[in-house]
Amino acid sequence: MNIDVLKEYAPAYFSAAGLTVRIALIGIAGSFLVGLLCSLIRYYKIPGLRQIAGVYIELSRNTPLLIQLFFLYFGLPKIGILLSSETCAITGLIFLGGSYMAEAFRSGLEAVPNIQIESALSLGLTKGQVIGYILLPQAVSVSIPAFAANVIFLIKETSVFSAVALADLMYTAKSFIGMSYNTDEALFMLVLSYLGILLPISVIFTIIERKLRYAGFGN
């Protein structure tokens, strides 16, 4: 392995990692909102919307992100919907992540006993206040391990974005391999970049989960 080559490659990887992180953040935030919405729709069994959310969740969970992206990037333009690489990537990630986040929320919502809702209602809180002050805070704290797993999963999934011509880490590695045949260096930097992004996140989540486990609520 050649140190000079590594040094030469570093800036390209650095900016690609920035792109990966940025898109992952937007996608994860979007997934969180979609997931929250879907899980509340299903929790309150809102007719009509509930069936739509159910179909969406099954479609999203049982198909690969790569195919979802190809459909968005190559398929949709044929009916006049032209999305940029970045929009495709973010849309795809939200489409995929929304269902995973919805499942995470669902397990949290189911863990909140009904009597908690009733005692909040009997204090005269409105339905919205009950959701905001009682239901969600308790549900979210139960769901944190699932959220953490989803966040890491979604960041990993961003690695397929190169397939829709987004200049992310994989794209950078592939072009260096193709251009210069410095395969070892290109792959080394690739692994290093993903470790640099994912390892700290994984460690932080482990610490948070451990703390939560010791400070469990209990009534």
Binding site: E58, T63, L66, I67, F74, V160, A173, K174, T183, S202
Partner: protein
Amino acid sequence: MQDLGIRVLFEGKNLIRLLEGLWVTIEISLLSVLISMILGIVLGMIMTVKNPLVKAVTRLYLEFVRIMPQLVLLFLVYFGMTRAFHVNLSGEVSAVIVFSIWGTAEMGDLVRSALISIPAHQYESGRALGLTEGQIYRYIVIPQTIRRLVPLAINLATRMIKTTSLIALIGVIEVVKVGQQIIEASRLSVPSAALWIYGVIFFLYFIICYPVAKLAARLEKAWNTV
């Protein structure tokens, strides 16, 4: 409505070719799943060993494989192995190797947690009944472990099937790649082919994964009483 792009499916042998491509996907998935299940069970049992060195090594393997995107692992094997060991691996072989390495790690962790989740008093009550250690495993521990494990293992299998789509990116001719070829070939005759072909592939994956995922969910529910 523009042209009926869906006819691209029925032109020539397009549908058959797509299904053949799908079969390649399934073959690679099934082979990797099979290898992962077998090696994963072994790994899971090794991981319950108390030896700190064994623990550290297996842990490191597990964490590395899990934290790396599968596509990165594919690149490492497909591009990296060739240079490191001077063997030229085909895309298919690389895929099976990578998915087995990854699947074994995931399966190993499932087996490990299923094994340690059997409470100590289960062993003790077995002993109290006068069963031998072998009988305790055969009649008490293994049946309970399997009930916990099977739904999770099926879920893992659907994840592996979905992940197989990545191998199109290292040039394996499977369903996505065949789809791309069809789109390319009918670029002039059916301009909207991409929409239809990717739509069909999307549903092909769904048709395979959905029933399997439902089965896992059902088993989990049915066996949750353990």
